[in-house]
């Protein structure tokens, strides 16, 4: 169809052969992309002068420096809360994800219906943004860290669960079948033949999730789900940018430490 409208260019080679060079279709994709961007600009009423005013934004950002160092005493307790929240929720999520991932992997549990239901649960839990989950959790469990733990737990559970069942499905099934042939029960066969194969990926996914969760946990306080987000929101509302800067520096340092420790462990595992 396309080749009939835009005739391919015919090139005669030195050998006398005739080859056709089809006209590039890239421009169609570009037109589609430009239309989508144009529509987005219309829908959001995006104000292009906003870009020219980003100087003002940078000025605000700069007012966070130097940070208000003396504020650190007030930063420490909620910061520790944030780390505790993400650690506890990550651990719980990572542990609970294992049985569900086994049920979702169709090379271990050969029941399409069970696989499908568990995968649907993973997808549903992964789809809702963490902050929305936290917002709902604050309505159900009340304000405070517990709501945050629930939100991070749900996210970690679905994230690790999805990664894990995908890895389980790609393992070498030979050892598992050999164990089963020797009369070992499927569950035991899984733990002696499949689990060692997926363990490194499982651990590094869990660590990766924990790293990300520390960042996420830092914002959950915005909806009242505990942690450092509470004071962050509070300080921004008071336009106390030097303290905001102190909070952000603390988060940055914490995240950097956790990232490098976990990168070290992950390198050791791999």
């Amino acid at each position: 169809m396309y080749d009939k409208i835009f005739k391919p260019k015919k090139i005669e080679l030195l050998t006398g052969e005739v080859v056709e060079e089809k006209v590039s279709r890239t421009w169609i994709y570009w037109i589609i992309i430009i239309i989508i961007i144009g529509l987005s600009v219309l829908l959001t009423n995006f104000d292009f002068s906003a870009l020219s005013r980003s100087g003002l934004f940078l000025q605000k950002l700069a007012s966070m420096l130097p940070p208000n160092w003396s504020y650190f005493d007030k930063v420490l307790p909620p910061l520790l809360d944030t780390i505790k929240m993400s650690f506890f929720a990550s651990l719980l999520g990572a542990l609970l994800a294992v049985p569900f991932a086994i049920l979702a992997a169709n090379n271990i549990v050969k029941n399409r219906l069970v696989n499908g239901i568990i995968r649907f649960i993973f997808m549903l839990a992964r789809t809702l943004p963490t902050l929305v989950l936290a917002l709902i959790a604050t309505y159900i469990f009340g304000l405070g860290t517990f709501a945050g733990v629930v939100a991070i737990f749900i996210f970690t559970f679905s994230f690790i669960g999805k990664q894990l069942f995908e890895v389980i499905e790609t393992v070498d099934m030979g050892p598992f079948e050999a164990a089963e042939a020797l009369g070992v029960s499927p569950l035991k066969a899984f733990f002696i033949a499949v689990f060692p194969q997926v363990l490194p990926t499982y651990l590094s996914t869990a660590l990766y999730a924990f790293e990300g969760n520390v960042r996420y946990a830092a914002i959950l306080g915005y909806v009242g789900a505990g942690g450092i987000g509470n004071i962050l929101n509070d300080r921004v509302n008071f336009r106390d940018f030097a303290s905001v800067g102190m909070i952000l520096v603390s988060i940055l340092v914490t995240v950097m430490i956790i990232d490098s420790v976990s990168a070290l462990i992950r390198k050791k595992i791999a």
């Binding site: 650690f87 929305v132 469990f141």
Partner: protein, 273 residues
């Protein structure tokens, strides 16, 4: 002969590395941190009130507010979802515009090491600031509404786009460029036919991946007043309008799953070429 081999095997098996002390240590450390961290779990039990709300949200999802779903004006679900999507797209675009030049400055195969590590530190600092802080900082600059959301998402996206794009740049096959050099290509030709064809597919798939994530983030930026579906959601919740909450959550689920399916399909196509 067989007996000797078996005993050898058993001997070897007994000499296998026994690292139970090592594992025990890890287990004790993990246990200690877990016990330390349980102090945040003040579980008071779900109050009757909380249980009622949980039930209401469930019934809300199964009985969504149809007037919101079939309302095609500016306050309807369809418009708000499209707007959220649009914020996500433009945010990704803004992020890409800022992140791409920074990535070149952070690639160790193109610039001196000190500059690369400095840029990486800046990128890490940019990534640490949560999106709602960017949104709250942009609202006084550009006013309440979607523009603030776009800019906030843009800044939020820089870190991840740059991180992945730097890897792509560092994986660049320099052989192709050297060969072109030897064939007498100009700098422009080298970039156009040697560098871009290697980098663009990676960039497209990074951006699509980020678009997925930005859609989720765009949904929450409304909570701070930066446009999109977040504001109506939080109003509906604080007003206990559970059927509206149900309709919005359902709409959000459908939109995110739909975009994820399309983007993973396009990414698969990009990877295969």
């Amino acid at each position: 002969m067989r007996g000797k081999m078996n005993s050898q095997i058993i001997e070897e098996y007994n000499r296998r590395p026994k690292r139970w002390l090592y594992y025990l240590l890890i287990f004790i450390i993990l246990l200690a941190i877990s016990i330390w961290s349980t102090s945040v779990v003040h579980y008071h039990g779900v109050s009757e009130y909380g249980a009622l709300i949980a039930k209401n949200i469930f019934t809300g999802i199964f009985h969504p507010d149809s007037s919101l779903i079939f309302n095609f004006t500016e306050t309807g679900l369809a418009y708000l979802l499209l707007q959220t999507f649009a914020i996500g797209i433009l945010g990704t675009l803004v992020g890409a515009i800022i992140a791409v030049p920074l990535s070149f400055l952070a690639a160790t195969n193109l610039v001196p090491n000190w500059l690369a590590y400095l840029t990486r530190f800046v990128l890490m600092a940019i990534r640490t600031i949560p999106s709602f802080i960017y949104a709250l900082l942009f609202i006084p600059v550009v006013g309440l509404g979607s523009s603030a959301g776009v800019m906030a998402l843009g800044f939020e996206s820089i870190g991840m786009i740059a991180k992945l794009f730097i890897e792509a740049i560092e994986d660049l096959d320099m052989g192709v460029i050297e060969a072109m050099d030897a064939a007498g290509a100009t700098t422009f030709q080298k970039i156009r036919f040697g560098v871009l064809p290697q980098l663009l597919p990676d960039l497209y798939s990074i951006l699509l991946y980020r678009l997925d994530m930005n859609l989720r983030d765009a949904a929450i930026l409304g909570l701070v007043g930066a446009g999109g579906i977040g504001a109506p959601l939080s109003f509906a919740m604080s007003g206990y309008k559970w059927s509206s909450v149900g309709a919005i959550l359902l709409g959000l689920l459908v939109l995110i799953i739909f975009v994820e399916l399309i983007s993973s399909r396009i990414r698969k196509k990009l990877a295969k070429g």
